[in-house]
Symmetry: C2
DNA sequence: GATATAAATGAACGTTCATTCACGTCAATG
DNA sequence: CATTGACGTGAATGAACGTTCATTTATATC
């Protein structure tokens, strides 16, 4: 997942998958160290403490997801297509980084105030990017929603849910799942959804 | 929340709110005891161990939510109205029991195998009740969904999200929020939603 | 009012936790 | 070749964990 095989990256990777499986409080430094094949004390050569690993993992996810979903948004498109673009890349990112999304959703409460401030801000930015799309669509009369803020949150929690059950080894292909969630998300705000052309 | 003021109920209530706030692993028996105004050892007069408190809280929620949402479902209604009935009572229950819903969503992984089996089964039943409504609607041609199973999960995770942000003290009334989520859920499966008549 | 049962206490148990530290190793640098 | 600094080890630290237990206190039963 993370590029490079430095010990620091191995720690990040081990922590990400362990945090996603057992939760921050359910994982010990010993377990992380063992996953990396090192001793617990050695981790402190790379991170000052356990909390810093969580903050690091969360921030890396936030900047990667921002780059993958928010940055490419094309402001010239009409609200419907902008929303479809957002949802498609968002779901695609969620599926490809399900551990990160799961952690982002579940471990906000495990953040101590220092790390929480910055991460909550980036989170709000993400949510408000979606909210402004919804507002535009509402003003243009192409979405049927009674409250853009609530609908934005409802779309995000709906899409976050995919990480709870989806496994690459399951019956569905990622493409099928993405398409299904795109349909559900677009329809949920009353946008028209048409199945993509066969390839 | 729980009726009666027996110590056992007080422990349940304290644990529910602490688990919801900090997670199962983030709460100690000492904290629960302190919330109840007792000493840690005394809890073991009422529950055999910490895990049993979690199982107890989760099971109480499952039976209450089943009674409030699944049991009243009227099989004679057409799929659209059955779905609306389901979503409305489900969201209403979620709002009134947000700690329980939060725990049900977050702490499945904290369950040891014994307790997990029964709780996962009840959960599956709940999900399949919604799935069969969606399948009926799909067959009747009134829903626009490509996969009833995925759409069922997507609706449930969307509605579970309300517990993350909604507070009784906030600007919206529960009725507003319920109505908004009913709209989002119905639209997400392509069902027609019409605003309820003014009262 | 004596007796049985339930509930609460306060201290302790062994274990695990995150973190620290003195010390070894070894590649890169001057 | 000597030195440095980054990295890893293995043992140790004190605190916190879930749980146990002998004992005391409260409540109900006869």
């Amino acid at each position: 997942m993370t590029t490079g095989h430095t010990t620091k990256n191995l720690i990040r990777d081990a922590a990400r998958s362990l945090f996603a499986e057992h939760g921050y409080n359910g994982v010990s430094m010993r377990e992380i160290a063992q996953d990396v094949g090192k001793h617990p004390g050695g981790i402190y050569n790379h991170f000052p403490n356990k909390q810093a690993i969580l903050v690091d993992v969360m921030q890396e996810n936030l900047s990667r997801s921002h780059e993958a979903v928010i940055a490419p948004l094309n402001d010239d498109l009409d609200p419907s297509h902008r929303l479809e673009q957002f949802v498609r890349s968002h779901v695609r990112y969620n599926i490809a980084n399900s551990d990160d999304i799961f952690i982002a959703y579940m471990e906000l409460r495990s953040l101590e105030p220092d790390g929480a401030a910055h991460i909550l801000k980036e989170r709000k930015d993400y949510e408000s990017a979606l909210r402004s799309i919804l507002r535009d669509g509402q003003n243009a009369g192409v979405f049927k929603i009674s409250d853009p803020a609530i609908h934005a949150r409802s779309v995000l929690s709906m899409l976050a849910g995919v990480t709870v059950w989806f496994r690459q080894s399951g019956p569905q292909t990622p493409t099928d799942v993405v398409e299904c969630y795109v349909q559900a998300a677009l329809q949920s705000v009353g946008a028209t959804y048409s199945t993509p052309p066969e390839r």
